[in-house]
Symmetry: C2
Subunit: 416 residues, 2 copies
């Protein structure tokens, strides 16, 4: 007997048949004695349709109206799932963001949750075992009383925030994949599903493109210590024993991972472009002169590498998504006199490979092993950045798969 | 300079192009100096789609969830129209039923409006000339905090209720037809559009199938004395002079109709069935024994005719919609011993023709003229009922068009 949040994405509720299937998943947990809050996305395709209408009406539309429009998608699925649950004899009701309420900031279309009132939901758990079916992705701004949305993928964040508010034992995210893998199985067939991964590691993986969970939801899970379980929505409800351990990955605090591995996963991203600025003055304000204009142009800078200068001038390298490379290059060229650099070297056929693991903290020489293994394969490393639990290498894109496979084997991830 | 409510139905907001056209209609009134609240329905087809999903999930679904689902249609159009108005440089924002709030009864799927708070909308009129774009058809129940809907056609009622709450000078209903006619122009090509019609007359016409406005909205207009103007949504915004008198019908209080005609219109309904119960005891409780079981079976009884008895027994005739005839007949047959009747006569090929006019009150012999005119055409009258401003005749369905044309001419409605 525990308290559970179950989150289902757009493909899981794409039509009535699938919504009925979701209801069976929920029934399984209710029958096992759990108190359940369900968080649903809009039917897949619906949000795109609504966004297209808003854009057709005006490409530059009021974000407050955009939110009122797109939040309707989750409203529909929450009502439909409540009906499907009632049909199975389960006490259930739908909740819109403003009804709970889920308070957010006023940043329409990309609001952040500031507080969730879980009292009424808990009361109904206790009084009548009522399942709460909650429209994900949305909230309300307290002062204006207007509907807000959390941005794409926001339902994951809704789910974890609700789990925190109702003191859930676990937040189950039902998704297209059955968990988090050591790396992309399409590149490394030997990639293994991780049974557990620490919040910190997941944060590094998610932002690197693991694309399983919205980064913000992992942050929230970490702050409120809500274990988040990523599992497949394709598993048949009747095949799952709620008392057993279903396949999936538990994202939890480091302490709950008994035997933490040195390296947990290898992430990579091929759509990178590199810009190296040569011979800039190593003095205060130079970095600002470079990254200020890029920020003004809303260009996402990823890696930044600057070495200690020897002679008063230095080189600075950074990467941007390949799609933003032309604009980034233009921005830096325009700012040449202000930055005061001699030369620009750029490369677009580059990839970033990252090695992630909490165990790195206490293990010396982890990166050194990688350098040696890659050198053995004749893979040149263009740039290196490191953090406490991750290091990233910029290499020629052509070597991406080889590098990922090499590192996957090197750190013992090929074994179960 | 006045205060105006403009209501647009589903076909007027069926796609983005039409929503932009609606915005031009609104702009015209704003430019003329009016404070405007707009009430919108869902895009045509959307409500049907949502209802179908609810029904597919479960034919017997929770009306509270049904309401949460279907109310989303108006939410979308309110946001889209607000954007379209902003694009024209007009200050505008969307309002959901719960935001205003529009309080209703708890009768989900067919709730009645109990109160509308117009304060904030008026405040915004005064402070910044902001157009309120209001999702029609919906409200909120105060105690439960849940979304309610008003039933089909409910946006008309929303519009009139809001007009009353913000003390609007007029409520314009933009619809598929350009006003209320003396009768159906498809039957009588000489039918004329009425410039004005009294609330009471409109009530009699609407419930008889004129289908221009939801009955409840006319009741509300009458109670709060809100003039309701029915006009065409197909008129091009640029062709309309906001200072002129646009084509349409004003539904208003009797006092505002200077020269009221004896007869205003001829309504008719062909889908009627007649049930005559012969030789029932003329004693207390008999009518209850007949209509009680019919009410329990949710059968709508329309005309009821009972004559004064001569010998202690009498006949009673009533009509029901043709679609409900089999059930009605069965109900009465089942109750035979309780009612205690000798014989049942039924007819399904019957029609009801009604003559409506406030002037009848003060003019004697209006009905007598009709009886004579129909007799001259050899049209047999099966039953007659009368009220203060209306009388209805039950005739053989085959004569419907002939009877309507005859009466239309008789009461001088063919002339402009």
């Amino acid at each position: 007997m525990g308290r559970l949040v179950m989150k289902f994405g757009g493909t899981s509720v794409a039509n009535i048949e699938r919504i009925k299937n979701v209801a069976l998943h929920v029934k399984r947990e209710v029958d096992a004695g759990h108190d359940v809050a369900v968080v649903v996305s809009a039917m897949s395709g619906k949000t795109n349709e609504l966004v297209a209408w808003a854009t057709e009406t005006s490409p530059l539309h009021d974000a407050r109206e955009y939110d009122a429009i797109v939040a309707s998608g989750e409203q529909v699925t929450s009502g439909l799932l409540a009906i499907a649950l009632q049909t199975l004899g389960i006490q259930a009701r739908s909740w819109q963001g403003w009804q709970i309420p889920i308070h957010t900031s006023e940043a329409h279309a990309s609001a952040r949750i500031t507080g969730v009132d879980g009292e009424e939901i808990i009361k109904r758990f206790k009084e009548r075992k009522e399942v709460a079916v909650i429209a994900g992705f949305q909230g309300i701004h307290k002062t204006t009383g207007r509907i807000t949305t959390l941005g794409r993928g926001g339902s994951d964040t809704s789910a974890v925030a609700i789990a925190a508010a109702i003191h859930a034992d676990r937040c189950d995210i039902y998704t297209d994949v059955d968990g988090v893998y050591t790396t992309d199985p399409r590149v490394v067939p030997k990639a293994k599903r991780l049974a557990k991964v620490a919040f910190e590691e997941m944060l590094e993986m998610a932002s690197l493109g693991a694309k399983v969970l919205q980064v913000r939801s992992v942050e929230l899970g970490m702050v409120h210590n809500v274990p988040v379980f990523v599992r497949s929505s394709f598993d048949k409800p009747e095949d799952i024993d709620p008392r057993g351990t279903p396949p999936g990955t538990l994202i939890c605090s480091e302490e709950e991972i008994m035997e933490s591995q040195v390296v947990t996963g290898i992430a990579f991203s091929k759509d990178e472009a590199q810009i190296s600025i040569r011979n800039i003055q190593d003095k205060p304000g130079v970095a600002a002169a470079i990254f200020g204009p890029l920020a003004d142009a809303s260009i996402n800078v990823d890696m930044i590498v600057q070495n200690v200068s020897e002679d008063g001038t230095t080189d600075l390298t950074f990467t941007v998504p390949a799609s933003e490379f032309p604009r980034a290059r233009e921005t830096i060229v325009k700012a040449q006199s202000k930055i005061g650099y001699a030369k620009l070297d750029t490369a677009t056929d580059v990839a970033k490979v990252s090695v992630i693991g909490i165990g790195m903290r206490s293990h010396a020489g982890v990166a050194a092993q990688a350098f040696a293994a890659l050198a053995e394969r004749n893979i040149n490393i263009r740039a290196i950045t490191t953090s406490e639990i991750k290091f990233s290498l910029l290499i020629d894109a052509a070597y991406t798969e080889l590098a990922v496979r090499t590192l996957h084997t090197l750190y013992g991830l090929d074994q179960a």
